[in-house]
Each structure stands twice: as structure tokens, then as C-alpha cells.
Symmetry: C2
Subunit: 362 residues, 2 copies
């Protein structure tokens, strides 16, 4: 472990905390300092189940983590409804904030969180893990290659999983008082972020939700979709659902080429990420009996799983603020979160307004 390892605390023992506690332990510049739950029993059980080091502090309240002066940064995987309270409080206690997605119930809540982080000079980043996989810059390189890919015209994303009856009855992700955004917040967030990533984070001019949103009895979204439209004619579509077999698809179409992957939220393999690419330039290679070349498969190896790379990147930024460099927090990350949330809010508004188009106001 580096001498300057950033010391993390985790607020809450959600399922995703298992993954993140491992990731924090694995990241070369981070260390897990404390975990917490509202119940000390639950926190103790989490520590035992996940084989945490005996040096990790175990707290029976979130406040205790925030009051621990040895904690540099917190990872907050709490239900979305609680983000505003705890992320703001964390910032006020001068803890850097790694906040699980969806970051907030709406953009005005997010603005308050980001303002609190800025006012207290702490780094903010959302927990979109796949953003940190090294295949992302490789794919971006392809999308930017006008010779091979041409001009980006459309993006299509589909993220689903069949959550099953236990989830439907008990998961916080379908409870209106906890994660009111349902599937739109949980996986629609990924679709929107991936689409924005593909267009270099240029906000669409408008969104129009797909008719036929499915909600549970409490009104929480179980499946929905939307199209996004840009001034220059680019278009994107997405569909997300808790009701079908697992799918993590994204496809980007350019005038001269296409890019696709079917495992973009979580690569099929831990140490390699692949993507598939096709270009009209390869038409020269067509063999007799073929109408088109089969797409090229690219393989990108990763030293660490993407969640570890996320922790590493975040800890690097924290170190720059906290350490000798004394830099200001990197503003790019909260800006990406805000753009994602803005689009998400607009999709929700379109659904609420009977699928009317909703203009995006930056």
C-alpha cells in the first residue's frame, strides 16, 4: 500500500458495498478504514462475511464514520433518497465523496450536494464503474476516427435484468421512499451516461420518453425507455427494464463504421474487455459469398477490475487535493453527473407528461 493511501469509509452495508470494500482494499492507493450500518450487528456481520481486516473500524452509525478524523473519503451506496442528507453532511465534514448512482432524486438535489462539495473543497465522483475500464478510451478513439467511423449519427442502448420476485417485493430499488427512480435510476442512468459519453457529453436538445412505461403498484418505474435528440440530427434511443433477461448492449452508428458491445456495464471477463467494430474501409476484405466483412473484435486488457480502477482514479484525485499538491477538486466528474441527471430528469418529466417531448435546459 502506498504511504499516501487514501482512507475510505463506507456508509451502509448494501450489496454493492461487498464489491466496493474489496475494490478499496485492492486499489494500490486506497485503504478501507471504516464501515458502518445503522445496526452494529449488521456491520459486524458484513465485516465477517467479507473477511475484512481486523484493522477496519466497524461503526453502528453513519455519523461515526463522518466523525472519524482518519477517514479521508466516503463511499455512499445508500438509497437515493438519503443521498442529499448524507453526501452534504460528508462534504461538510470534509470527506471526499464517491456517490453511488443515481446520484440524486433530481438535479436540484444534486446541485446542493455538489455545492456542498465545492464549498468544502472535497472531490465528488459518481459510482459509474464502467467509465473507468480501459476499453472506454479505446472505443472513444474509434468514435473520434473520422476516417474509419465517420460522423456519429445514432446510438442505441438496452440495459435490462430480470430482477425476480424477491427483488420486486423487497429491494430498495423499487421502493418509492428509497429509490423512487426505479429502473430509470438504476440502469437507465447507465444508458444515458453511455449515450452522453458517445457524444462527448453534448446535451441533447430534447428527449421523448417511450410510451408504455411499466410501474409497480407504488408507482416506481420497472421498465421504460426514451429517445434523445440533438440539434444536428443525431438521435439516441434507450430501453431499460427490471423485467427481462440480462442485457448490457450499446451500439453506436457512424456514417462509415459502427461500434458495439454487449457487456458494457460489466465485462464478461474480469481481466479483458472486448468490443466489436466494423468499418466500410474493410469492404476490401470481403470474401466471395460474403455480403460484408464480419466485425473486428478488439480486446483490451485491464490490470484491475473496473471498480478498482474507479477507486484508484478517485483516490488519485483526492490525493491531489489532500496531498502536497493542494490542487482544487477536479470539476469534470460532477459535471458528468449533472448532465446525466439532467437528461434523466427530463425523461422522467416526459413520462409524467404523457410522453410529451421535454426540452433540456442546461
Amino acid at each position: 500500500m502506498a504511504e499516501t493511501a487514501i482512507r475510505f469509509g463506507i456508509l451502509g452495508c448494501a450489496q454493492v458495498s461487498c464489491k466496493l470494500s474489496k475494490a478499496i482494499t485492492q486499489a494500490p492507493n486506497a485503504t478501507l478504514h471504516a464501515i458502518s450500518s445503522r445496526s452494529i450487528d449488521k456491520a459486524n456481520k458484513f465485516a465477517a462475511d467479507n473477511g475484512l481486516s481486523p484493522f477496519v473500524k466497524i461503526y453502528g452509525s453513519y455519523e461515526a464514520v463522518l466523525d472519524d478524523t482518519d477517514v479521508d473519503a466516503v463511499y455512499i451506496p445508500l438509497p437515493t433518497t438519503l443521498h442529499l442528507k448524507w453526501a452534504v453532511m460528508a462534504a461538510e465534514k470534509r470527506k471526499h465523496v464517491l456517490l453511488e448512482k443515481p446520484v440524486a432524486l433530481n438535479v436540484s438535489d444534486l446541485d446542493r450536494i455538489v455545492e456542498a462539495c465545492e464549498a468544502n473543497g472535497v472531490q465528488f465522483m459518481d459510482g459509474t464503474m464502467w467509465m473507468h475500464h480501459p476499453r472506454m478510451p479505446k472505443m472513444k478513439q474509434l468514435l473520434s476516427d473520422t476516417h474509419r467511423f465517420g460522423q456519429l449519427k445514432s446510438i442505441h442502448s438496452c440495459i435490462t435484468y430480470n430482477a425476480g420476485p424477491d427483488f420486486m417485493n423487497n429491494s430498495i430499488k423499487v421502493k418509492p421512499d428509497l429509490d423512487a427512480l426505479g429502473a430509470l435510476g438504476d440502469i437507465g442512468w447507465y444508458c444515458i451516461r453511455a449515450i452522453l459519453w458517445a457524444v462527448d457529453y453534448e446535451l441533447p436538445k430534447k428527449v421523448v420518453a417511450l410510451h408504455g412505461t411499466v410501474c409497480n403498484e407504488a408507482g416506481v418505474i420497472l421498465s421504460c425507455g426514451s429517445s434523445l435528440h440533438w440539434e444536428d440530427g443525431k438521435v439516441a434511443t434507450f430501453y431499460c427494464s427490471f423485467l427481462t433477461y440480462i442485457t448490457f448492449d450499446i451500439k453506436a452508428l457512424g456514417t462509415k463504421g459502427s461500434l458495439s458491445l454487449n457487456d458494457f456495464v460489466q465485462p464478461f471477463l474480469e481481466n479483458y474487455g472486448t468490443f466489436s467494430e466494423a468499418s466500410e474501409l474493410d469492404y476490401m476484405k470481403i470474401e466471395p459469398g460474403k455480403w460484408a466483412p464480419t466485425p473486428n473484435e478488439h480486446v483490451v486488457s485491464n490490470e484491475f477490475p473496473q471498480e478498482v480502477l474507479m477507486v484508484k482514479e478517485f483516490a488519485d484525485l483526492v490525493e491531489k487535493v489532500k496531498g502536497k499538491l493542494g490542487l482544487k477538486p477536479e470539476k469534470a466528474w460532477p459535471i458528468l453527473s449533472r448532465k446525466t441527471q439532467l437528461v434523466l430528469d427530463a425523461v422522467k418529466e416526459s413520462i409524467e407528461r404523457g410522453y410529451e417531448p421535454v426540452e433540456i435546459v442546461p
Copy 2:
């Protein structure tokens, strides 16, 4: 060649006629008897370019083919605007009709064509070639497997190609007086047919076109899309475009499994068709470090290319009507064409009505 080989005439020397003249020659129960063009020079050139047998009659008018009493059936690849006139006339001359898609400018034109076929006891089929690939029944078997696939919830299709400047200036497919339906007719047809195929041809209750249709100066659609919605909550989306790199994608999502292919209009290989399938039943196979099993690849070999299989199927039906069996024409095929056209008309209406939902009235 079988003694009972069905003798085909072709109306028009369009590019697709090259493929079909070969397919008719290759099909074991069909023979190419005559080709035609409005210009005898063009017809002669077509015969020479395609190495047609000297026994093939070459006519300088479409009427001449219809007046040739040796012709049993005609393949009509003329511009859509001309379908009504020539398909009706062919039927009246007792020729069986294999009609290129889109079959008509609208469903009322199609009804007149189908009525003429019924009144004259001739078989009707549209030229949707991929319907005849043997992987289609294999995929249908999977979609119907409630144990492996569960219940179908959504279908997503994307068919595009970058037609290029010469096409944009000169192709009949973007001329309002010839193929007024543009990309919606040319490739949107395939998306709609594939979606209907997946749902066992149950018509959706409504369609809602995707905002942002792109048209050329003459108002012909170059790119568009739509969603389709069923009473039971099933949803489908499609996107078609002449403006991006070639894509032939379809994905069907069930509660327990998924099915996808990326070459469904024209398989990558001539003698094999593949498709990709995943099911939650395979979760038992997950290796450490994987979040999900990679999808299963299925390979289905085909004795003939799909266009030959289409001709063979059509000729078989014609033989049943014309030969000793003396059966009535098979009504299933015109019904599929009509359902496809009904949905296509509704998408066009939704576009024209500013992307309002349009109910489908069977």
C-alpha cells in the same frame, strides 16, 4: 430441373433482378423463362451481363412477359409506385406474383393487388428473402421455449446502410414518384416484418414514430424509427437509415433469455446462418470472475442461399395451385404482407401527424 419446374418471368432489370435471376436458375423447381425491360437494349445487356441461358426470352416490354403463355409466375422488382398496375395486370393474366417489398404504397393498394390475385386464383408472396432462411424456424423454436426464453417482453431492431451520394442523387429508392416510402419502405419493412415475426404476427395496438425523421428535399424518408406497443405490454423499437454504416440487428428479450443476431437481412455467410442466444438457465455454468455466461452461438446450415429458398418455396406453392393437386393459393403469405404494410402505414401516419400515437385498425 424438375419436369414441373415453374417458369418465371421478371418484370424489370433492377439490381435485385441479378440476384433473383440467379436464384430462379438455381432453385430446383424453377426455371427462368423470360426477362424484360422497357428498353430491349437494357434487357439484352442484362442477359449478357448475367450470363443468362440463350433459351431465356428477352422482351422490350413488361406486357410481353405477361402475354407469354409459357410464363407461370412473375417476379416484380419494379419501383413501388408501379406495383399496383403491374401486379394487378399480372394477376389478371393469371401469372402468380412474387412481389418485391415494400409491396405497395399503402394497404389499400395492397388490398387491390391481393384481391386481383384471389379473383384470378394465383399465388401472392412478397420478396422478403430472409424469411426463408432455415435459421428462422430455429430461432422461433427458441422464442417459443418458455422454459429457456420465458415470455417475450421487447424487441429491438436496427437496419441501416450508408447509401452514399450516387444513391442519394439517382436511386429510385429516394424518388417521390417511384419509391415514396424511402428508407421506411426499403429497410423499415424488414424491421417491422422481423418484429411481427417475433410476436407471431400479432398486430400491435399502436405505433409511435421516433421524432427526428430525416427526409431529402423531395420529402422522401432517409432515416426514421418507431416504437410498437401491444395490449399486453410488449414493446418493440426500430430504427432504419440510409445515412449510416451497414447494420442488420435484431434483439428479442424474454423474461428468461435473449436472442440476437447482427446479420438478419443477409447472413454474413452464404451457407450458414448464426444467431446468439442467452438464458438464465446457463447461470449454473458461470466461471469465477465472470458475471454471466457468454451467449451461446448457434449455427444453422442452409442448402441454398435464402433467395433461392424463397423462390423454391414460392414455386412449390405455385405448383400446388397449377399442378395436379389444384389447390387454392396459400393465404398466409398475403396476410403477412398486409400486416407488415398496415404497421408501416401507421408509422408513416405517425410521422405525418407530428409523431402522435396511431392506433392500428386491422
